[in-house]
Symmetry: C2
Subunit: 300 residues, 2 copies
């Protein structure tokens, strides 16, 4: 089966269009990578790139783009609203198909090692790739930002996972890691009572005793006169979309409220929907190899 | 969006492995085509090849394989159990994604025209590509087979759609066309009473007053002590899988019989399952572009 991951690197350049184009060029040129989107925010002074591809092609293109960014961006002159600590601020890899989390973590390590050696860049591993619980959360690593990092990096507990224990003079430090893709899934309720939507969200989400890989809040859709349980499914392979859908439905019943539809926001892996179809049709022994398009993807 | 079709050409050679390998070689060599399967049956003396790919790549590889088959196979020496009228007996194209039926018909015409010119081969168009109702059905065209065709081809109503109105001396004549992919979908019933399965099948299928693009029969699964409504969905874009599933369920209710699962047999397009997930989750405004893998397929 073809191995596909998504990668969403964040670079600290959101204003200079020439530099932005140079940084994304490798994602356009290298075969086996499909550039899905890149958007620069001037106020954040930050570039967010979304792409998918095979492990090898992603690795090659990310390393090239990192080198270009390290070359072009001077963090001493960088200002923007978004917290940041390096020219290549953060690089998450997420498995899409045929890739285990362990393999995504391995890829993050390979990229971190090569980048640290080539660019003399200090690099931290985060989320599933984190080497200690304190490094799991990006915000914890990044606290202090570029300006405070010259000191922080010298504390033993903040020794980088790869590269020198001192800040790169212009590119700062980077964070690389692996995590599951988020699936943004909203379920609409036939009520304008936000309190009901919030009550349901509380029961469905992990923190309220609900589903392990589900975050949820109630949202008011004023224009339509309805409310919504807005969910982030943080691991669709373990907590499936149909589980959160059915759970919203049976929680809504106690309020006499109907579920009247749903929304899928942004990108998601095909498997998240195959799982839904399999559940509702009760399909026995289904294999992804039966999907014609999956066979084509083996070629990549 | 990438255009993908499936093509399942049938060649009249099921015994000589050297020849078989030569015929399938273009499907292995030409990029943009993924050879999914090829199987030769000695008794039928027939080779069935399954592949998917872009229109251009399919056209190129099918024409090359046809030329090789026309070169290698002498129908005067061919014997086998399966009815046949030519070296390249039949070539159906089926839309998988981003392709309309009109475009599949156009592709069938292009291949038929080029093949008839290059190989001096008489060619008939069938199914959706048929030019008259009498030519829709493959069995009607093929009746008489190679041995009877020297006469049949001279009747005005059996003038080929492309190529000369006489049989190719060694390769006979070919049938090329376009049709929807079949999705084989079986729904299991918690009863061993075949009569009930047959009654339900009768109500669900088109010929019994049921769904327009659904064929169905009852089947006894002796080993499991259950029965099954075995269906062929002849156009999943118009009659969706969830429709036939729900219909089996509500017909089964009158017998107090439960639906206890289902089976998807063989290959199917991803969209057939996306439609199911969309229905059961009630997803609003969903676009195939949101599926990560779909974006990768655009590259092909």
């Amino acid at each position: 089966m073809a191995q596909i991951l998504e990668c969403i690197p964040n670079f600290s350049e959101g204003q200079d269009e020439e530099k932005i184009e140079k940084i994304v060029q490798p994602f356009k040129d290298i075969s086996g990578v499909k550039l899905l989107d890149y958007s620069a925010d001037k106020d954040h002074n930050r570039l967010v790139v979304t792409m998918i591809g095979s492990p090898d092609a992603l690795k090659k293109s990310v390393l090239e783009a990192m080198e270009i960014a390290v070359d072009l961006i001077d963090m001493n002159e960088h200002a923007g609203e978004h917290p940041r600590m390096g020219a290549v601020d953060v690089v998450p890899f997420t498995p899409v198909r045929g890739v285990t989390m362990e393999e995504a973590v391995e890829l993050a390590n390979e990229v971190a090692q090569e980048a640290s050696e080539k660019m003399e860049l200090p690099i931290y591993l985060y989320e599933e790739a984190a080497t200690t619980p304190e490094r799991k959360n990006l915000a914890d690593i990044r606290r202090g930002e570029f300006e405070g990092f010259a000191d922080k990096i010298q504390q033993p507990e903040w020794k980088p996972d790869y590269g020198p224990a001192e800040l790169h003079s212009t590119a700062g430090a980077s964070v690389i890691g692996a995590r599951m893709p988020l699936v943004a899934f909203n379920v609409n309720l036939d009520t304008d009572d936000l309190e009901i939507a919030n009550e349901i969200a509380r029961k469905v989400r992990h923190s309220g005793g609900g589903l392990r890989y589900c975050k949820a809040i109630g949202i008011d859709l004023n224009e339509r006169g309805i409310t919504q349980v807005s969910m982030n499914m943080t691991d669709y392979t373990k907590t499936a979309l149909y589980q959160s859908y059915e759970m919203v439905k049976f929680e809504a019943e106690r309020y006499g409220v109907d579920v009247i539809g749903s929304e899928l926001i942004g990108l998601l892996p095909a498997q998240a929907l195959f799982d839904v179809a399999e559940y509702y049709l009760g399909v026995e022994d289904f294999s992804g190899d039966q999907i014609m398009e999956n066979r084509l993807l083996e070629e990549l």
